[in-house]
Symmetry: none
Subunit: 238 residues, 2 copies
């Protein structure tokens, strides 16, 4: 995540002004994720200890300190609206549409994360499902808006290469986003204890790398391709 | 806050020279806030402990170490005058007016913070109210000057988009500033103990995000819009 941030920011001079705000935000998303993954790492290390008794096998034990999954939700509360905004910005829609889409998708996605958290910290399975269902309402709205909106935007890209990248961003968005509700269900189907928490953490972490870093690389590729088209356009007579 | 700093500074090359000082200061405000929030976070962590006894529910307990709210006042003493100056600079008033307004509002707002602190660290309710009232004198002067001055400045902005952003900055200033005296009153109306401190900290933190980071984004948007107007003006014959 941290390396992705540095990559995006060092690429800023290589794209035209039109895409610098998108690329700046792309790097901020992975920076915020880097910070929270360090917090999650430290919380995980404090909650678990690995030790060998009398030279025997190493075993993992709970230390009694809580593993705080709240860091992940604070991370999402900040990064999810921002990564939707970076996607909207790189599409370079008319300004009024950019502003209205950013507000609508940004607020809906923040609501989605906020509604997921009360269920995530619950042991009671029916309460978990209740919040999962509530959170799925803004989730479906955002994913549907993206799938439709990106299909439209794809056809308006200035070159075949940009169109194929925008189409890849569309599939990656739908794929990575749909991972989260399934990982959330790991504990809702009755799995519990440290093993379930481990599967959940692995799932969320993989989905985050796809949705933040890999997705960011696509945003950069779109910005670079469109910058190249704009710059070659300047040199040609109309 | 830290992400906001990086965003503002990475945007420096994208605005004209006229707005770079404002944008630099905008990033300094959120940087100072980042530093103090790390201090506040550490002080909070040292004052409280979360533990589970014998595998039971996790409970929050006081460790006996003090939670030092002084960091917040030192933060405000530096950031509040600076954020008023960033607002004055982005309005691009005549130079004499910029200097005189910066001095007047900067000193009044520093006085406001300094007069608030003696009451904040008091348990005695009447003493809290005494300092609250004293601090409200410079507070009212600053908010009134801003509300009137920004209304005037709004009408002089070079484009409708800049005027609507300046108007948004005006409302956000009044809204975010008015949050503080109410949060201060949480403890003045007789609430006490860790819960009251928690509500107070949540309130101040939300108000700070609005007054520093969100307000800073508005300052950047004004600077970007006015830079675009200035740059397009250069290309056109008058």
């Amino acid at each position: 995540m941290g390396s992705a941030t540095i990559f995006f920011w060092l690429q800023l001079p290589n794209v035209t002004k039109n895409y610098r705000t998108a690329l700046t935000i792309t790097g901020i998303v992975t920076l915020i994720a880097t910070y929270h993954y360090i917090r999650i790492f430290n919380s995980w290390s404090e909650a678990l200890t690995v030790a060998s008794k009398d030279g025997g096998d190493y075993t993992v034990q709970l230390t009694g300190a809580p593993f705080n999954d709240g860091y992940r939700y604070v991370d999402w509360l900040l990064t999810v609206p921002l990564l939707l905004i970076e996607l909207i910005l790189v599409m370079k829609l008319p300004q009024a549409e950019t502003v209205s889409l950013s507000w609508k998708l940004g607020l809906a996605s923040a609501l989605m994360v906020a509604l997921g958290y009360p269920g995530e910290i619950q042991e009671d399975l029916s309460v978990r499902w209740f919040w999962w269902c509530l959170s799925m309402i803004p989730f479906c709205y955002v994913v549907f808006t993206l799938a439709v909106g990106l299909a439209e935007a794809t056809s308006k890209q200035p070159s075949p290469a940009a169109a194929s990248l925008a189409s890849a961003a569309r599939y990656l968005t739908v794929l990575s986003w749909c991972t989260y509700p399934f990982v959330y269900m790991v504990k809702s189907v009755g799995l519990a204890g440290p093993a379930a928490t481990m599967y959940e953490q692995v799932g969320y972490s993989l989905a985050d790398v796809l949705a933040n870093a890999v997705f960011g690389v696509l945003i950069w590729a779109i910005a670079a391709e469109k910058s190249a088209v704009e710059e070659s356009g300047k040199l040609l007579p109309n």
